[in-house]
């Protein structure tokens, strides 16, 4: 019924779902560990594992089903109060979830196979208290699901005359039950009148059910063939695992359950409550396509606006302006679609902190704030790993062991804080600890020993701290399996650079250390500042521009520095840098850009002002170009290149380093543009 492409697609859908479910399960388990009486958490946890087992069954992923099954059994014990949720049990369950995660990641969507680590799994199964043979039950469930299973949604309404003609409605259900598995069923009894109005031999019932079955549409219709005059049947193949049957449920249906304690909401109502929130899952690439198109729309409206200005027709201009306004709104909404709250990513740090602090025998309290801050989904995905590095690093190096902390007069329990907030068009993510802070002296010594720094170089503490982000730098005396291998921090730096972000360190010896990451809100659109050299246009990300000024003649010295209010400012002549032919008579301007604490000047010809622009990535051919991060199309149809300021800064840095003679003299400005001692 499915060709292999469709199958692969289904399986990929499952993988996505499985990851979400496992994450949900883990979050809820950790929540439960904090508050063991959180009934909502246990139910959500149970549902997630149960759904995972069910879905895995469809794809015959047996090891996954077996483990999920055992986990579910344990959870049932906890939910029903037969087992206490001890820390040991939580650890075991977390291990199981890791194992499940590992299995999910090992699934090959092409072939639908999965690599299970049998001995480890056996161990987990035993630890979970189930004998290995016990998983036979789960396997039976899977065997039943072998073959091409479809999910069908059936809506059946019976005619009043059905019973009088000798049919028994429940016999259809018994028959369907043999063709497959009835996943959920609702008997529609709202049409049953009260006793006074009841015709006891008329039929008032109807059913809505979902059925997982390998049977074809014809086979299912055949079930009702004999009674086809007496029922109305709607049969629908579920396209999507996620979509829930549209249950028609008039309000009277509720009054049928007279005793409130009769409702057993946990498993039977699962398909609806699990996906209770009205969310629509959309493939990320579809969203990207939409945003890309909206970007095109912005560009073409700008073009239309220009044309209407040129035509001089007021009516035309007015309508174009209306269009433009709507396009603006559409663009804002479209971009918001990509925004997700950072809290989801933050929550996973409970687990990281728990694991790392246990491994190191440290007590750590994690505080999260600003969880509702919104950020582009792609950014969140790509910043998560660097954040994990920073958190691990803080626990490993930053926070001292308990006795050392007590000796320093601090509480034995270390505190780690994750914070997110918006700040002038950027999002700021902070990882702060109350540990010992960075050891400036040791970093400096290490850097000198590794030849990264001249022994007599004058650097501010800030600049020394930033050295820990250089490749191959690690000051930990003992290499642990958590950090200290010198791979983490430079990976953090390059990940942040790629996202057009910057990282800063605030460290107070003995007080703690804060790593502050600043990221643009979205990767798709920037507020830019348009400049030109001759006929070539460049866009500078607006939030990096600090000021603009007119260039005075021969202001640039031989070392490439300008004098900015008495301070030397390393500068680049854009025209010369990119080998462009500018207009020699044109007046030239300087745009001062800053990145964190660094400043530099860009010498350009014309300043054309602000514009909001959609970033188009450069084609494959131009990907190695340094100094350019993308392009955009102006309203006039011209192409403007977006300057990659961080990479320009790096080039300036290299230029400064290639003149070591100058670097050693105190008069040589550091890139920070600030005085070295402070």
């Amino acid at each position: 019924m499915f060709d292999s492409d469709q199958w692969t697609q289904l399986l990929e859908g499952f993988l996505e779902e499985a990851r979400d479910l496992l994450k949900e399960a883990e979050d809820n388990l950790l929540r439960l560990e904090q508050a063991s009486d959180d009934g909502e958490a246990i139910n959500a946890l149970f549902r997630a594992v149960h759904t995972l087992k069910g879905s895995a069954g469809i794809f015959s992923l047996e090891p996954l089903v077996a483990l999920a099954h055992q986990l579910e059994n344990q959870l049932m014990g906890v939910r029903d109060g037969q087992r206490g949720l001890t820390p040991a049990l939580v650890s075991l369950m977390l291990q199981c979830m890791d194992e499940l995660n590992g299995m999910v990641e090992s699934i090959d969507p092409q072939r639908g196979t999965l690599a299970a680590h049998t001995p480890r799994q056996r161990e987990l199964l035993l630890a979970l208290g189930g004998s290995v043979a016990d998983s036979g039950e789960a396997r039976a469930e899977v065997a039943e699901a072998a073959g091409e299973i479809n999910e069908w949604f059936l809506s059946i309404r019976f005619d009043n005359e059905l019973l009088r003609n000798g049919f028994e409605p429940s016999s259809f259900l018994r028959y369907l039950d043999r063709l497959g598995r009835i996943e959920s069923l609702q008997t529609l009894a709202w049409a049953v009148p009260d006793l006074h109005g009841l015709d006891a031999e008329a039929c008032y019932l109807g059913y809505e059910l979902t059925l997982r079955s390998a049977a074809s549409r014809e086979e299912l219709l055949d079930v009702f063939a004999l009674a086809e005059d007496f029922c109305t049947l709607r049969l629908q193949q579920q396209e999507d695992e996620d979509s829930t049957p549209p249950v028609v449920e008039p309000p009277e249906a509720q009054t049928l359950a007279p005793a409130p304690q009769v409702a057993a909401p946990v498993v039977s109502s699962e398909p609806r409550s699990a996906q209770g929130s009205s969310m629509v899952k959309v493939a990320a690439h579809k969203l990207d396509e939409l945003i890309n198109l909206v970007g095109e729309l912005v560009i073409s409206t700008a073009g239309a606006h220009m044309q209407s200005l040129r035509s001089g027709s007021t009516a035309c201009l007015e309508s174009v302006q209306a269009v433009q306004q709507h396009v603006e709104q559409i663009r804002e909404r479209a971009l918001k679609l990509r925004m997700v709250e950072v809290g989801e990513t933050f929550n996973r740090f409970h687990r990281v902190v728990r694991d790392v602090s246990q491994a190191l025998g440290k007590q750590i309290q994690l505080t999260l704030s600003g969880s509702d801050t919104e950020l582009d989904k792609t950014l969140i995905d790509r910043i998560a790993d660097p954040l994990v590095h920073l958190v691990r690093n803080a626990i490993d190096h930053g926070i001292e062991p308990a006795d050392e902390r007590r000796a320093a007069g601090k509480p034995a329990q270390g505190s780690l804080r994750l914070n997110a907030f918006h700040d002038s068009g950027m999002i700021v993510l902070e990882v702060s600890d109350d540990g010992r802070g960075l050891n400036t002296q040791r970093i400096r010594e290490k850097a000198i020993a590794r030849g990264m720094l001249d022994a007599d170089a004058q650097l501010s503490d800030q600049d020394i701290h930033l050295l820990i982000f250089e490749a191959g730098f690690s000051t930990a005396e003992a290499v642990s399996n958590l950090s200290g291998r010198g791979v983490g921090m430079d990976v953090v730096r390059s990940a942040i650079d790629e996202l057009r972000g910057i990282i800063e360190i605030d460290s107070q010896p003995g007080q703690g250390c804060t790593f502050r990451i600043r990221l643009p809100l979205t990767l798709a659109i920037i507020d830019g500042f348009l400049v030109s050299v001759g006929d070539d246009h460049f866009v500078i990300p607006l939030d990096m521009v600090t000021e603009c000024m007119e260039e005075r003649a021969d202001a640039l010295d031989a070392g490439g520095h300008l004098n900015l209010r008495g301070k030397p400012l390393p500068s680049v002549d854009l025209g010369r840098h990119f080998g462009l032919r500018g207009d020699p008579r044109a007046r030239r301007n300087i745009v001062v850009v800053s990145q964190g604490r660094q400043q530099a000047g860009l010498i350009v010809e014309q300043l054309l002002g602000e514009l909001q622009t959609v970033i188009k990535p450069l084609g494959q051919m131009f990907q190695h170009l340094s100094g350019i991060s993308g392009s955009t199309i102006l309203g006039s149809g011209q192409v403007a290149l977006i300057l990659d300021i961080p990479s320009l800064f790096r080039q300036l840095q290299q230029r400064a380093e290639s003149e070591p003679r100058l670097a050693a003299t105190p008069s040589m400005p550091s890139l920070s543009g600030e005085s070295p001692c402070k």
Binding site: D80, G81, L163, R164, E168, P169, S170, L173, R174, D177, L185, Q186, T187, A189, V192, P193, D194, L195, H196, L198, A200, E201, C203, Y204, L205, Y207, T255, L256, A257, P258, A259, Q261, V262, A263, A264, V266, S268
Partner: protein, 107 residues
Amino acid sequence: MATVTLHPASDKQPARLDVRGDLTIYEASDTRQALLELLAQDPGPWALDLGGLDELDSAGLQLLLSLQKTLVQGAQVIDLSAQARTLVDLLRLESLYPAGAASAGEE
């Protein structure tokens, strides 16, 4: 036909309706009459003791649902025979599960 007996309410217990025998399409109409007569004596609440049911089909089930709807004050099922249970299970009719058993499953 099914015998329906209503044991009157005692000080704290609601009246208990005892349903015995078969309750199928063949008995449904007569049983409805019998129930209507009982309703005239006592408008509820009743506890439904379905432990003595022998055979139950959809028509009988419908009658029970209709009775529950009529007894707005309350018609808790306090017992359910094994025969009847198969059908109630199949149809997943929570309102016909014995009250005690359902809440025990939740603990």
